[in-house]
């Protein structure tokens, strides 16, 4: 069976004057896959991700996200994806319900869709008593779970998660991954960056960027075999220790 390709890049490159932040990266991500996008600080992950979500124009190369061209169809791309990062996800001075309504509206859902879906979501998260409370008053773990749910509220094809579990307690971190599994099981492609190497093991495939290029890309078990390593942590250290630039 041919797997549907939802992210496809071809020699995607971004230069900042003489500095090549992302150097001809070529890869594919399949529908329903959990794809781990790893790399050392300064390897070019953030720059690559910004191009993929349509907020930074590449210098050269090609890419299609959910079938849309990243030069011409950035608005369509934004409608087909969800995005969540540790730094920005929710408005703290809006309530839980207001946040859901706001993002539902931004993603183009109509009022009745927002109403039914938000009630279901609040129930699923067990936030009935918190629905009218400000997001600022929620514990961090709940905020992260809510932020993820909102990022996939409009049933996007792909959800981009930029270090979603940073600073989160170990139990909530695992509950968060349960949600990732569930989303992937429902056919949403998950593109995730993390500094936790145990989380790299939960991905279907993992790419590791070093100095602007993708140095390795495979399933965690295959990578461990290829590099004769016991864990993804070891694989990462072997590859990233060779980095010359940035850090």
């Amino acid at each position: 069976m041919q797997k549907e390709i939802v992210i496809k890049t071809d020699k995607l490159t971004k230069r900042f004057s003489d500095f090549v932040a992302v150097n001809e990266i070529t890869f594919e991500v399949y529908q329903g896959e959990i794809f781990g996008f790893l790399g050392a600080n300064g390897a070019g992950k953030t720059t690559a991700m910004k191009m993929l979500i349509g907020i930074s124009k590449p210098t050269s190369g090609k890419a299609a996200i959910a079938g849309y061209d990243i030069y011409k169809n950035t608005e369509e791309i934004k409608k087909s994806i969800g995005y969540m990062s540790q730094k920005f996800s929710l408005y703290e001075d809006l309530t839980v319900k207001e946040n859901i309504t706001l993002f539902g509206g931004i993603y183009g859902l109509n009022d009745s869709e927002i109403k039914t879906k938000s009630e279901a979501l609040i129930k699923k998260l067990g936030l009935q008593n918190e629905a009218d409370k400000l997001v600022a008053s929620l514990p961090l773990g709940w905020k992260q779970k809510l932020a993820f749910s909102i990022a996939i509220f409009h049933s996007p094809k792909i959800v981009f998660l930029d270090e979603p579990t940073g600073g989160v307690d170990p139990i909530t971190r695992r509950q968060f991954w349960d949600m990732i599994y569930e989303a992937a099981h429902n056919g949403i492609t998950v593109f995730v960056t993390t500094h936790y190497m145990d989380e790299a093991e939960y991905c279907d495939r993992v790419s590791i960027m070093v100095d602007g290029v993708i140095e390795a890309l495979d399933s965690p078990s295959q990578l461990k075999q290829n590099y004769n390593a016991q864990s993804m942590d070891e694989v990462f250290l072997m590859l990233a220790r060779g980095a010359k630039r940035g850090d």
């Binding site: 961090l140 989160v168 307690d169 170990p170 099981h185 145990d198």
Partner: protein
Amino acid sequence: MSVIELHNITKTYSTKKNKIVAVDDVSFSVDEGELFGLIGPDGAGKTSLFRILTTLLLADKGNAKVFGFDVVKEWKNIRDIVGYMPGRFSLYQDLTVEENLNFFATIFNTTITENYNLVSDIYKQLEPFKTRRAGKLSGGMKQKLALSCALIHKPKVLFLDEPTTGVDPVSRKEFWQMLKKLKAQGISILVSTPYMDEANMCDRIALMQSGKILEIDTPQKIVKAFDGELLSVKANSMFNLLTDLRNYSKTISCYAFGESLHLLLDNSNQDLNELKSYLKNHNDLVIEKINPGIEDCFMQLMKAHHPPSLMEGL
């Protein structure tokens, strides 16, 4: 001798609507020359403790001393002898690397050359960029500069608030090597981190969650105190395995840990054959007894300290 002592420190922040207890009746002490870790997620109260100990924040209750000086009455003495690296990068972005270091040396009435030996290992890596503005440095280099600036006046105690957060695994390992070297030079260090795997680099640790200390001890003793025998379970479909084990009647807890699941069964039942027959539909099943790590202990302690309702939400 204790270089840091806290007794019943409590700190609350009040907004119009609610009161948040950031630090809840915390007491501990750090010995001279010790590398002491505060381990816990965001919201554990780590930063509030750092700010109280470095005399930047007043506690509501309790008292604390650094090198015998009271944090309220003798704050001036404390500021002379501590080095503090806050969690958020707070050097002067539009000064160069060298200007920043020179500035911090000067306000403490010293010079870069006087204490160069202390920072040389770290600063050597920055020297090629010494004319670059601090704001233009990469994350890892900012972190090294911040540590150099916290060290340049040869402090007796070093306070490092989440120095490795958001830093990749390679730079994190290097950073801990630097801390070991500083410890070897006799500097006492209080360091916080949300990464449980870094706990083993410390002499002693306090596991913290929601303003409270769950446990204080050496990492080895904390691991030894884990209640029960932990199993590692693997199969070809990890997601189905997790679902099945969570539904198993004898399961106390089951969490994903990298490529395997860590399973804790009801203490009265260590019969693995029963477990194996329950999982007979799984392929490539591997069950092994393993030693718990700090993260296993942290989760066990978290569950013991919190009402079950907080653990739900899924």
